[in-house]
Amino acid sequence: MKVEDVVCPFCGCLCDDLVVEVENNLVINVENGCTLANEKFMGDHRLKNPIRREGGSWKDVSYDAAIRETAEILLDADRPLLYGWSGTHGEAQSVGVHLAELLGAVIDNTSTVCHGPSILAIQEVGHPGCTLGQVKNRADVIVYWGANPIDAHPRHMSRYTTYADGFFVKEAFRERKVIVIDVRKTESSAVADEFVKVDRGGDYAVLSALRAIVRGKGDLIPVKVGGVTRDQLFRVADICKNAKFGAIFFGLGLTMSPGKNKNIRNAIELTEELNRHTKFTISPMRGHWNVYGSNEVFTWISGYPYAVDFARGIAFYNPGETTSVDVLRRGECDACLVVASDPGAHFPRACAEHLARIPTVQIDPHVNATTCLARLQIPVAVTGIDAEGTAYRMDGVPIRTRKLYEGTYPSDLEILGKIYALVKEAKGS
């Protein structure tokens, strides 16, 4: 069976034009997808059933037993952490936030090690953005800053920017200027019209200098800023000011570098400055396919996009304090539920060590690094393959992912719903 217009649950591009062929509960072919999509759909490396660590070995357990034990672990904890969420659908995320509220837990999503600093910056200065189609149809200048879309978001350039023909830009490749700004040469910088090589840690100064130039205070700028020549800074500022519609996309090169949120803030303020001259937008290259959805769901329920601490009943938010890496490295939490992500692989080692120390439960379709650190793992269906639900694209456009076949695994929503019910019953509310 061929399914058309399939939504890809890999990266924040959330491409929805895939054609997937399914046979006997197995994907046998994918059209239109990138390498990442092909691997995701064709992958067949699921954990077969729930497993439980007993001493130095693993035993199979039933779903019911695993769910019951998870509820008990969470109820016993004085400072539980519920982490992950970006790899599942919104409906499951919503149960997660309500579970956290019921438990008095800290709940956090993968933004915490991705675009968390971008959120902090947006909270300081706002976010002049747009949907991706606005860029595709209008933009004549594209800037990628600290981002390498060819590796991380392989179809971003062909669907939305460099190679995407639009209503007002009929021949994108010819009519669009692409600027790549990065500390290293990448596949993406190779296709740019202008590559700006910034010294490591130099982004903030370069952004400040560009702002000053756009404000007409360029006389002050020395011959080199953050490894970039004054000439090139002026040239880039000129290209931007003369754009009809400019769009900046930034990645972890800004969020993870020294200055963190302040780099992003500076980039947003540059965008605001450019809007006094022309039309400019800025957008984070969100990583997980539904990380933006976790921010949205967290926000409409709790008021905050990530790092929410319900210990005191009310929602408290303070990244740097209530973020997962901080809660783990300080050894604060005494239980952890990981849903749809792999902190064992993606958090600094000290955090992984704490996860191994406390009762950690993982809800995930695959065996991953966190599996080794957990006490229990409950396998679930993969949203977008054998489960469906809502996802938010990197620009906030919500799309419903499809279930391609009726599989045997329960969805995240079903498992979390059962845990929630048990916790609610125990809490007597």
Binding site: T35, L36, E39, K40, G43, I51, G56, S57, W58, T112, G116, P117, L120, N148, D151, A152, P154, V183, R184, K185, T186, S189, R200, G201, L252, T255, M256, P258, K260, N261, G287, A307, P319, G320, E321, T323, V325, R329, D342, G344, A345, H346, F347, P348, R349, A350, C351, A352, E353, A356, R357, P365, H366, V367, N368, A369, T371, C372, L373, Q377
Partner: protein
Amino acid sequence: MRFVLNTGRTIRQGSYVERKNSPVYREEAASLYMNRVDMLDLEIEEGSHVRVKSDQGAVVMVAHPADGLVRGDVFVCLGPYANFLVNPETHGTGMPDFKTTVVTIEPTTDPVPTVRELMEQCGGVGYEG
């Protein structure tokens, strides 16, 4: 020799991210990319094992040359190998310094650990299944 470790996504890392126990994932996640001249200075070749050390610990990886990197910079895709070295300090932002870890690199003949072995060093128990 002293280097600064940068991390980020690669298409191979993304491709194998749901198969962390696989040799292909290990091959990519344990690949250390560096400037060719730095490799000459270290007297290593493509495929040589190197011990990479930071204030957090040490891990053995496989060196590869990369043209996009300036001298002194090295790159490893995000994953458990890089994270063996990254300091969990977040500067009050929640975000560790994933892109600026100071490391030293020396040649070694020690084997590259598996993901499972790394996690066992963190106190975990591997699962084969």
